[in-house]
Each structure stands twice: as structure tokens, then as C-alpha cells.
Amino acid sequence: MIYQGKQKIWSDYQKEIPDNHWFYVRSCIRQSFFPASEHYFLKICRDLLDRDIYESAHHTTCGGIAYHCDTIPQETAMTIVARQFALMTEAGYENLVTSCITSFGNYTEILETWREFPELEARVREHLWKSCRREFRKPVYLAHASDLVYKLRDEIAARARFSLVDKETGEPLKIVEHIGCHYSKMFPHKGVGGAEYPCVLSGMAEAWGGKVIDYPERRHCCGFGFRQYLVKANRGYSMSNTYKKFESMEPYHPDVIITNCPGCPFFLDRWQYVISEQEGKTYGPDGHGIPVLTYEELAGLVLGFDPWDLGLQVHQVGPEPLLDKMGIPYDPSAKYNGLDRKKLMTPGLPAVLKCC
């Protein structure tokens, strides 16, 4: 497509996202902390919106977290990713969609580095052949799963049973969107809206009836910091960054936070719990926190799926105030059920943070 004038300027912030036929790679963190999000991403795209998304049983971690904790050499990380490309090629796909933002950043960085230094790509091809006897074509399109949901946002809106509107007042809900750093801070042209105007999440929130809040620390990191969270001795870094964000957004009274990185919702949720235990402070009304959702969970709620099937019970901050505002029915007694409605012992309760 040829863009002119203002359209040309804004074309830097657009991203072409193919409509169909994707090879899907999962996220270690999303699988561990929000497994239902991946399940519902596939359910929504495949079953509801009839898209072809393929998963290979043979794909593995991309190694991104080990790479950003400096525990494996760059060529190791590249060869693991090259193997994923080989699985994609063998399955007959050319569009790759990642569940994880660290993976998305990792894949993007690798493709960009190879573009600049073709000799390195050649070396990695050799490594892959020697170690796995595999060959690959590079993906034609690389997207994060939130790009795809962004692309499908209007189709989701057309099927919505609930919207991001306070059913009592009729006012749009106030949404904080938090974009994972590795989505577009490294290579702005690879994300929808770039690093300056990322609209991948705000586009969804607005299409589903919400109003996005702008606040001073909107683009500040959640504080994962890889080794800064994973090593117990360093976690003050991680919590301090989350604290800074919450103090900054507090005056705007957000109803919900949505995120596209699998790690961010975990940290923004759990550090609220820790801040409440340590400081006695909570950021939502009446001792509640601000619910932090993945974009898949938000899409699922809008579409009318059961909140407990979507996995909202595995967040430490209770989602009930949000569900009540949106007018979504739920069965409190089923919240902590296991498989086939089996009753399980319920989790312990935090000392300060109200969870239901």
C-alpha cells in the first residue's frame, strides 16, 4: 500500500497483521500463571472467529528469560528460536504469533540482528543443522497475540454480551493499559502504534466501550527486570517500580488494568498484595485492589464466558468489583472449584487486601 501526506506519517505507526493462518508459540509465564488466557485466545480465534491457528506439540520455550538473565549465550537463544522457525516451516506456515512479549521481543531482535549481520544468520543455520538436522524459512509476518486480538477487536465487539461500561451509571469504565516493554520499546515499528502511541490495548478497550486513562507513569516498566525479580535478593527493584506506577495512577481511580505481557499482570497483581501486607495500602475502593487482567481475559468477559473458566480466581486481587460494575453474573461458590466442579479447599486470605 502507498501512503501519502498525513497517512504517510502515520504509516510508521501501523502494522500489517495478516488475517489468518498462524503458527502459535506459547509463553512459559502465561502457561504457568494464566493458562486459561492461552486456552481462550485459541477458543476465541479458532472456534468463535473461525481462524486457523496451529500449535506444534514439539515447540519449546524460546529461552528468552534465560537469555535476559544472561545465563545463555546469544547464539544459543538464536538457535532455539531458529528451531521454532523450522517447526513453523515444516508445518507449512509463514506467519508466527507469540503468546509472550519477551518471546516477541526476542524473535524481533533476532530477525533484526540477522538482517544487519547476515553472517550471524548463516552461523545459526549451521548450528541448527548440526544440532537438530533442521532447516527453516524466516516468518513473513511476526505478531504478538495481542496484535491479533487488536485486529479482531471489532469482530469481538460485534459478538459482545457485555461492555466496558458501568451498568449503574452508564459511564465508560476507566481503563489503565500497560504495554510490556519488549513489545515496542526496542523496535517501535514492529508494534501497533510504535513506542510513542501504542494502541494495541487502548484500541481493544475503546472498541469494547471503555475509556483509557492517561497518567504520568503510563509507559514505565512494571519492574520485572528478569534477574531483578527471579532472584529473591533483588525483588525490591521489581516492587518499587510497580509501586511507582500505582502511586501515579491512583488519583485517576482506574476500574481495571489490562496488559499484553504475561509477566506484567502477575507483578501488577501480586505487588498490590505485598504493598497491602507491608504498608496496609490498597488502591481500589473499600480495601479492594485494582483488578489486573490479560487482554484475553478481558475479551472473554466481554464475550460472556464464565469468569472462573477464564481463570480470574487465580489473581490475588479479586475481580468481583469489576464484574459487578459490568453486570456480569457469577457464582461465588464455584470460584475455587476444581475439575468437574469438584470442591477444593479454598485459598488462605490476605491480611489486608479484600479478595471478594
Partner: protein, 242 residues
């Protein structure tokens, strides 16, 4: 290790070594010392860390100063968020330069000279262990609640009821096939091991372990004590307000 140190003494060109790293090639152009990276950096706000200074030291190409960096605490403070990469007016990426410095520090064994650098031992053990044994970087089977009390009572509940909770949430925990938390087949784990052997990761893991064993001996600790200590202990002096 001795061989590596000798090689280094003969060569005396740490800057040249750094320059071979593709992250360095990508992340280091010319720094005009504007301080934008430091202003935006989440690590600089809390830690005694200044990416501007690091870029400046590196561009002076002084081996003694670079050697001091490789042995320092400061190169381990960065969170690799890459916020700096967006903003630098000269298209530097302090985060990528840090990755190259850390890689060289690990490669030459200097990481054991600093408290934060020594954390490479527990990180390597857990993360590369997870990749090679399970095919994941992070997995609930090796994520212990005792090490992660911040994950809250709700995650303790998840871990205590893994089959039930993951089963209900549509995961394929502990089974073959596709799906979240599936068991990654042995043949795929073998390929990961072959990639590690081919690309230098196996050698790196062994070297990090050897250097750490030596340091543990110097500190009078068993490896178990050393692993726990490096994972948990935080001395005073790392933060801006200390």
C-alpha cells in the same frame, strides 16, 4: 579458567573483545553523554546505576576501566527492559551494551567478584535446568512457594492443587500433546541439549559452576549454602538512598 585469564593478559584488549559481541555492535554507536537513558531508566531510579556513565566508560576504550566494570556490582543492576533504546538520540541501547558486558564478565569469570554478579550461579542453575529438563524457562513444578511468598496465598493454592486447577483452566498439565504446560517430548529436550552443546551454552554452564565452586570455597561455604546465600542475601549499599 587459567587459560582464559592468561589469554586476556596477553591480549589486554577488553574493548576488542566487547566489540565482537553482536549486542555491542547493535547497541553502541557514539554516546553524547546527554543522560536521557539515565533519566528514563527504572534501574537508575533505585540502584546506584547510571547507564550514561557506563556508555561513557566503554567509549573511552580504557581496558582498566572496562575491567573494573566487569568486576563491578553496577553492570548487574539493569533490568534489560530496553526503555533506553527507544529514547537515545544516538540510537545506542545501554541495555544491549550491558548484556555484552555481562556476557564478557561471565565468559572470563569476573562475575564472582561482585555480590550481584554471583547471582549468576542460582539463575543459571534454575533457568538452564528448567530448559533442559522440562523445555520451559519457568514452570510450576520448579517454582517453589517458599522462594516466592509474594505470589500470594492464591498461588500457594494453585501449586497445592495443580492437577485440579490447571485442568479446570484448560491446560494440558503433565500430559503429552499440545496445550499449556504439556510435557515436552524427550526427543525435543534432546534437541535442546544438542543446541546447548553446539552453541557454547553447556560450556558456559560448566564454567559458571566451576568459578562459583571456587568462590564458595573462598567464602567457606558448601555449594548448597552458596546457592541459598547468593539467591537471598542483599548487602547494604546497592540503593541510591543507602
Amino acid at each position: 579458567m587459567e587459560k582464559k585469564v592468561l589469554y586476556l593478559l596477553n591480549m589486554g584488549k577488553l574493548f576488542d573483545e566487547l566489540s565482537k559481541d553482536y549486542r555491542f555492535k547493535e547497541g553502541f554507536k557514539t554516546c553524547i553523554n546527554c543522560g536521557t537513558c539515565t533519566a528514563i531508566c527504572p534501574a537508575a531510579e533505585f540502584y546506584k546505576y547510571d547507564p550514561r556513565k557506563i556508555l561513557d566508560i566503554v567509549q573511552r576504550k580504557d581496558d582498566d576501566e572496562i575491567l573494573a566494570l566487569l568486576k563491578s556490582e553496577t553492570i548487574w543492576y539493569c533490568g534489560e527492559c530496553m526503555s533506553c533504546m527507544t529514547r537515545c538520540p544516538r540510537k545506542n541501547a545501554a541495555g544491549l551494551v550491558i548484556m555484552a558486558l555481562r556476557n564478557l564478565s561471565a565468559k572470563l569469570g569476573y562475575f564472582t567478584c561482585s555480590e550481584k554478579g554471583r547471582q549468576l550461579y542460582p539463575l543459571t542453575k534454575v533457568l538452564t535446568g528448567n530448559i533442559l529438563k522440562l523445555g520451559y524457562c519457568v514452570h510450576p513444578d520448579t517454582y517453589k512457594y517458599e522462594d516466592h511468598p509474594e505470589s500470594g496465598p492464591v498461588f500457594k493454592w494453585v501449586l497445592d492443587n495443580k492437577e485440579e486447577v490447571y485442568g479446570r483452566l484448560g491446560a494440558n498439565y503433565g500430559r503429552q500433546g499440545t496445550g499449556a504446560l504439556r510435557v515436552i517430548p524427550k526427543e525435543d529436550l534432546d534437541e535442546l541439549q544438542a543446541i546447548f552443546d553446539e552453541t557454547g551454552a553447556t560450556e558456559r554452564i560448566d564454567f559458571v559452576e566451576k568459578c562459583s565452586e571456587q568462590k564458595a570455597r573462598e567464602m567457606g561455604m558448601t555449594m548448597e549454602e552458596y546457592g541459598k546465600y547468593t539467591f537471598e542475601h542483599c548487602s547494604r549499599g546497592h540503593f541510591n538512598d543507602e
